[in-house]
């Protein structure tokens, strides 16, 4: 497989008047990678994509594609193709005309275009649909036509702006695997924008977590999930229970915080923050719902939490227990359903246990909005 063309953002700032949409972004995207920008809406991820595709110029900093500075080069001259959020299929053109629009621009003959369109239609599993209008296709089919249209331009970098957000759940999950397959087949760099952490985690080689114009963390999915840099990354990616407190004691890679409700708790300091957190700092401790287990009543210590159960729910593969937690937030515990029957704990106090290496400590910071 070819190495592909990499994309680099160097000290990228993008401002709209007084508003800073992107603040000092530094990203290296390797050629041939599936790279995702993950963040809530309005965090500036689409702005970055538009800067890469050439629809807006950075206020400061540089966008490099394959090592070449792209400043002043229009979108039609860049080796990128963008798949729009609403797909932007040309409504008056037939499917095959849509797909081969980039060839029409280059002056290819109709028969050449037909031939290429048929190849691409086969690839996206829509053979023989070339003569329909986009409005006559279903959502998932339109989606695939948009991908084919972008691929027909033979870009070095394919940019995708939340292309799955308009699809229903089943189709979305199906398209995830399909996108990943297509990416591996064509071997070009994909830059994917999403607010859905599930999409980002399943498809990406690397993920950048963004918050209000700032990139909090760039890492692969596992690292982002298990070893977040910031409170935002920890709370935005996946579900997490938060415990706030001041650091009482730092013990190598671990530290103990004093919480209001749950007493002293110990956790591993996240890799990026090791050596930076000091005693007395405000910190946040995150424990995933699935990292808890139920301990024997009365057990105490720095990795036990006791709380009263407010309600429970059965989700099929997991069994969720909700208890009163810190600052009005509830603690969620997910126990795998292995076929055994659960006893109802509602109203009781239960003691929860976790392993300190499965809990992560980061400096106190902004949490993702629920």
């Amino acid at each position: 497989m070819s190495a592909g063309v990499g994309v680099d953002l160097e000290n990228l700032w993008i401002r709209f008047g007084d508003f800073v949409a992107v603040r000092d972004a530094n990203v290296n995207i390797n050629g041939g990678d599936f790279f995702s920008f993950l963040g809530p809406s309005g965090c500036g991820k689409t702005t970055i994509l538009r800067a890469v595709s050439g629809f807006l110029d950075p206020s400061e900093g540089r966008v490099l594609i394959g090592g070449n500075d792209m400043r002043g080069i229009g979108p039609n001259k860049r080796p990128t193709a963008l798949i729009f959020q609403n797909l932007a299929l040309f409504p008056l053109m037939k499917v095959w005309e849509n797909i081969t629009f980039s060839m029409e621009i280059k002056g290819a003959s109709a028969s050449q275009r037909r031939k290429r369109a048929d190849e691409l239609l086969d690839m996206i599993a829509l053979p023989g649909q070339g003569d329909k209008l986009p409005s006559e296709l279903s959502g998932g089919q339109r989606q695939r036509v948009a991908i084919a249209r972008a691929l027909c331009a033979e870009p070095d970098v394919l940019l995708l702006d939340e292309p799955l957000s308009a699809l229903d759940l089943k189709l979305r999950q199906h398209m995830r695997t399909e996108l990943r397959e297509i990416q591996q087949r064509v071997g070009i760099t994909f830059i994917y924008i999403t607010h859905d952490q599930g999409e980002a985690l399943t498809m990406s080689d690397n993920i950048a977590v963004m918050r209000a114009g700032v990139i909090d963390q760039i890492a692969d999915g596992k690292t982002i999930y298990n070893d977040p840099n910031t409170a935002f990354a920890a709370s935005f990616v996946g579900e997490n229970n938060v415990f706030r407190g001041k650091i009482k004691q730092v013990m190598g890679n671990e530290a103990m915080i004093a919480t209001n409700r749950s007493g002293d708790l110990v956790a591993r300091i996240s890799t990026a923050n090791q050596g930076k957190l000091q005693e007395g700092d405000d910190a946040m401790l995150f424990i995933r719902p699935e990292a808890f287990s139920i301990a024997a009543d009365g057990a105490t210590g720095d990795h036990f939490v006791t709380a009263r159960v407010t309600h429970e729910e059965f989700e099929g593969n997991v069994y969720n227990i909700f208890t009163e937690g810190e600052g009005g937030k509830e603690i969620k515990v997910s126990l795998p359903n292995l076929g055994q029957s659960f006893e109802d704990h509602t109203g009781q106090n239960i003691t929860l246990e976790y392993e300190t290496r499965n809990a992560v400590l980061v400096p106190a910071g902004e949490l993702a909005a629920e």
Binding site: N76, F101, S102
Partner: protein, 421 residues
């Protein structure tokens, strides 16, 4: 009961409304086929197509139509281009300026056409002089001035039509085209322009009609190229003939024709689209049904009826000769007129006899009375006969030929108009 009253009143209202709207057109159209020299529906004389023939022999009307078409075409091109540019500008302009820009560009619609006409004339005359050109330069040419003058406000209409469509345009489509390697010009030509095509067509039709019927502005700018409306207005000053009704009828017929054609086309597209949606099922079943042009398409049926009617009328017109009828009517009128004159004469004869008898009586009673003269007596002024008495001398002139119109009294005789021609 209340409900049925409401329904009845709605129908009554509708009838009145359509009478108000279409009545004048219907009457005008009917007069085009009446042989009466003055456009009127009653009394019906003879069915004739002569007015159409006369219309097409009238060089001034034909020339006016030609000028109107040339000016209309020029206005369409200029107005649609300017309207499109204005509409695009409106979507691109800095949002804070948008309202102001909109007001400025809409203003010409609110300015009276007369003012636009005068200012166009004055402005281009200035420019012409500044450039040191003569009175026969392009800038003072009637067609140029009229196109420019009409476009000043017709472009605003076009812009309104185009903006409505443009607001539904997804800018992402242009961006997608750029992203796929198109230049801005290519994106405009291949994506935006096809999208705007229906609105451009509407704007063009609107511009053409507005130009065709314009009088206020054109009356100042036409120079040596009078348009149809100008010619009509000038003609009306010297009295109108049913030839103008014939022209009106042709315009009405063309309008109806194109309206039906358009409606049938739209309906057909709808049906085709509906059929395409159903097609998948039918294709699977192995029978491909072509949508019939007429199925469920009322407009298409009407169109065909209209076309058949037109062919019939034209066919009749070529074969039909109203000469006999017109001759009959003439003859009848002559007879009528003669009869009336006879009656009149008889009446006067009786009156004279009566008066002579009276005079004879009076003469016996008053010898010292002044010279007897019918209007010398003060008391006679208000007598019913005195009004008619003015013509007495004339009619007493021996034996004027009845159909003769040399006499003053024949001025209002219906025959006189015909004999003039």
């Amino acid at each position: 009961m209340n409900n049925s009253f409401l329904r009845v009143s709605i129908w009554v209202y509708l009838v009145i409304f359509f009478l108000y709207l279409l009545g004048p057109l219907v009457i005008m159209s009917v007069t085009a086929f009446n042989s009466s020299a003055f456009p009127r529906m009653t009394p019906w004389e003879c069915l004739t197509f002569q007015w159409f023939g006369e219309l097409f022999q009238d060089q001034r009307i034909l020339n006016g139509i030609k000028n109107s078409l040339i000016i209309g075409a020029g206005t369409v091109v200029l107005s649609v281009a300017m309207g499109l540019a204005g509409a695009l500008m409106l979507t691109q302009i800095w949002p804070k300026l948008r309202a102001t820009y909109y007001t400025i560009i809409i203003a010409p619609i609110l300015i009276p056409g007369v003012v636009l006409g005068i200012s166009t004339l004055v402005f281009w005359d200035r420019i012409n002089r500044m450039l040191g050109l003569g009175a026969d330069s392009v800038l003072s040419n009637g067609i140029f001035l009229t196109v420019i003058g009409q476009s000043t406000f017709i472009a605003s209409y076009c812009m309104l039509v185009l903006v409505a469509r443009l607001q539904r345009y997804d800018v992402a489509l242009t961006e997608a085209a750029l992203d796929l390697g198109a230049t801005h010009a290519q994106a405009f030509r291949k994506i935006l322009l096809p999208f705007m095509r229906p609105a451009i067509a509407s704007a063009a039709v609107l511009a053409f009609l507005a130009s065709f019927e314009n009088y206020n502005t054109t009356t100042f700018t036409f120079g040596e190229y009078p348009t149809l409306t100008i010619e009509l207005a000038q003609k009306v000053r010297y009295g109108i003939t049913p030839a103008i009704s014939a022209l009106a009828f042709i315009i009405v017929a063309l309008t109806v024709f194109f309206a039906l054609l358009n409606e049938a086309k739209l309906k057909r597209q709808e049906l085709v689209a509906a059929a395409r949606k159903k097609a998948t099922v039918e294709e699977l079943a192995g029978k491909i049904k072509l949508p019939s042009f007429f199925a469920g398409n009322m407009a298409a049926v009407l169109l065909v009826v209209f076309a058949v009617a037109t062919i019939t009328v034209v066919g009749t017109a070529t074969a039909y000769n109203p000469g006999q009828c017109i001759a009959n009517v003439k003859e009848q009128k002559r007879l009528e007129a003669e009869q009336r004159i006879q009656e009149l004469r008889k009446q006067r004869e009786e009156q004279r006899k009566k008066r002579e008898a009276e005079e004879a009586q009076q003469g016996g009673a008053q010898q010292s009375a002044p010279k007897p003269s019918n209007n010398s007596g003060f008391g006679n002024v208000f007598a019913p006969n005195t009004l008619g008495g003015d013509t007495e001398e004339e009619s007493s002139e021996p034996e004027t030929p009845p159909s003769n119109n040399g006499g003053f009294g024949g001025a209002f005789d219906p025959n006189s108009l015909q004999t003039d021609q």
